[in-house]
Symmetry: C2
Subunit: 389 residues, 2 copies
């Protein structure tokens, strides 16, 4: 019997692990009707939320985000990953816990979307990827910026040659705070939670560099140099600048120089009109405005190939529709991958996530920026101290 | 006998060594009436010009710039520095020749203003400084940007605390050329003339970093890291990015991270609206527009010290008066120093020039960017090959 009614969207069932502010934003985005962003092939169901401390905290979270009454509140992560109704676990715990929590989900046979950075060390990340591969589960770093339509459009412009081969990139994510005062209680300033500018803010500029250079046979930089300023008495960095070189590869005529900077103290865009990412090509430049994690605008400037003559700019603005924050697009990607039994996203590949964490590792090693043995351990399971969890 | 007539300005007599385009611009600036820029204490007289090849070339130069008929054309540098009417020699030869030519002037007992970079190697620069000190002659690197009123104003803003202590600087000088085509015949692409992006363009961003961090007890960076892209087949760099750290020193609460980039291929300001230098402080930012060697505008953005809140910008434009290019201001500084028997300028000190050349040395060494033995030699006198001169 033929039918002309629209096909039912593939519905993926989410369990949210941890109840901090990013979990809240993600949950709210899950509850936005996908049709508001033109998505009809997949949909999302929030079926469970877990707090490691108590089910009351999870209950309050469920009420706060307005999840359906069928959503179950768990007082432990073990209970969440044991729930057979959960298809995919979203890991929203602090950096320090990503490895243990993501592994918990994978070992329980769940698909996993894990907040950035995927793990604290590259070894941990490799173990997660090996586990996802062996168990045939989906695993992805929640680098949501990559899935924003504006990011896809920028990558497309680059790949279409709008600015010619990329030759230099400056990318910054710096939030201009008095960290010791304004962020006193934040995970950002906590060594035991693997805080600091590099791991939390620095991943965005590095990912901007990676995604605008892709596709490359090997995404790895040929050199990684860096400068770090410690956050006084906190054991984490307050500012880190990374200078990378990427080898010549078609169509690049030369090696690419790229600067990824991040700072709790300095500010990427102090006036609302300063580009936070600049992708420079042989025939022009793309300037990205707004927050580097969620750009609101980009400009393409086609270069006049003659010394001293400046080019014309075209401007594109973008706002996330449907009242969503923008995390919804990565959720759609997870649903599509799971639907098609893909364990790795082509947009946020394992190789690129691993490369980013290897860069973070190299920078931390160069400056003796270490976390505790337990946070950097790649053993599993390891019980984390209760106060951290 | 008291008089109320204006005092006669102190007149300094210039000899110009070499006749390239920067010499031409400098000569024209010397011939602009200082009163047009409000200067009445000093004046300039162009008394001699020398070409190493022939006095005819020097004659043509004198006619072209419109120098007075009393200006003498020499066909050798030795003749120029032997002329007793010359107080100060302006060295406008290629980088490769600065050391030999500046030493020639000093040894002849002349004061010397030498084009940037002061020399090709730090050892050469140290020898020049020692010679100037021993012979009690004035010596200065012709970093004219430092003497532009807009630069003085920017330094004053920083020193007055308009943006708080400086914490991060991005400075770029990149001219966006197809170097192998557009600059085929330029000294910029010639290894034998000590060309390349770093030595010619990179000195400006480094000097911006130095001058906005000054005064410091020790101007030297605590770390110098860099990435270089070679210009294919030319033996010089087409792009160099330097990442430096400067140690904590009052009033800076933290170490300063600074990026100095330069490129023949990439472009600092592709649209006429992109800042080429950004000086970031704890309480705001100064953005500099135009060419980093001769800015036309700067904006001060006072930061609202609260996460996510952007600040208000104030804008200042500047144009060199009197139809001059802007080299006139450094000439005035030379005249004032000579008048007051100072051998070193406080604005462009020997220590800072030496620091800049030590940075250039460190970067070149890190990448095996060497010039010929004769160009890097600190012996004097050394006869340079005729074709280079």
């Amino acid at each position: 019997m033929s039918s002309h009614s629209a096909p039912v969207p593939f519905c993926i069932r989410w369990g949210i692990l941890a109840t901090g502010s990013i979990a809240e934003t993600f949950a709210k985005d899950l509850l936005v009707d996908p049709a508001s962003r033109g998505v009809t092939d997949v949909s999302h169901s929030l079926v469970a939320v877990a707090s490691s401390r108590s089910s009351e905290i999870a209950s309050r979270f469920i009420n706060k985000v307005g999840a359906p009454s069928s959503c179950i509140a768990y007082g432990s992560y073990d209970a969440l990953v044991a729930d057979p109704r959960v298809d995919v676990v979203y890991i929203a715990s602090p950096h320090s816990h990503h490895y243990q929590n993501a592994m918990l989900g994978l070992q329980a046979g769940k698909h996993v979307l894990c907040e950035k950075p995927l793990t604290v060390t590259a070894r941990q990340a490799h173990h997660l990827v090996e586990t996802a591969r062996a168990r045939e589960r989906f695993l992805m770093e929640a680098m949501w910026t990559r899935f924003l339509p504006i990011s896809a459009q920028i990558r497309q412009e680059v790949q279409n040659g709008a600015i010619g081969p990329v030759i230099r990139i400056f990318a910054d994510n710096s939030i201009g705070t008095n960290a010791l005062k304004e962020l006193k209680d934040s995970y950002l300033t906590k060594k035991e939670l693997a805080g600091g500018a590099l791991l939390d803010l620095g991943v965005y500029p590095i990912h901007w560099i990676m995604q605008t250079l892709a596709p490359r046979p090997d995404p790895r930089p040929s050199s990684i140099l860096s400068a770090t300023t410690p956050l006084l008495g906190a054991g984490v960095d307050e500012s880190t600048t990374i200078l990378m070189t990427f080898p010549v590869t078609s169509p690049s005529p030369v090696s690419v120089q790229a600067v990824a900077s991040s700072s709790l103290r300095a500010m990427a865009d102090p006036d609302g009109h300063t580009p936070v990412v600049r992708i420079q090509g042989d025939r022009g430049e793309i300037q990205i405005y707004g927050h580097s994690w969620c750009p609101s605008k980009y400009r393409i400037i086609k270069r006049v190939q003659q010394f001293g003559i400046i080019g014309e700019a075209e401007e594109y603005e973008y706002h996330v529709p449907g009242g969503a924050h923008g995390l919804c697009f990565e959720a759609d990607e997870v649903a599509r991958c799971v639907r098609h039994e893909r364990h790795e996203s082509a947009v946020m590949s394992w190789t690129e996530s691993l490369t980013v964490i290897e860069i973070l590792d190299a920078v931390r090693r160069a400056h003796g920026l270490f976390f505790s043995e337990i946070v950097e351990s790649d053993e599993y399971p390891v019980t984390m101290p209760a106060k951290m969890n």
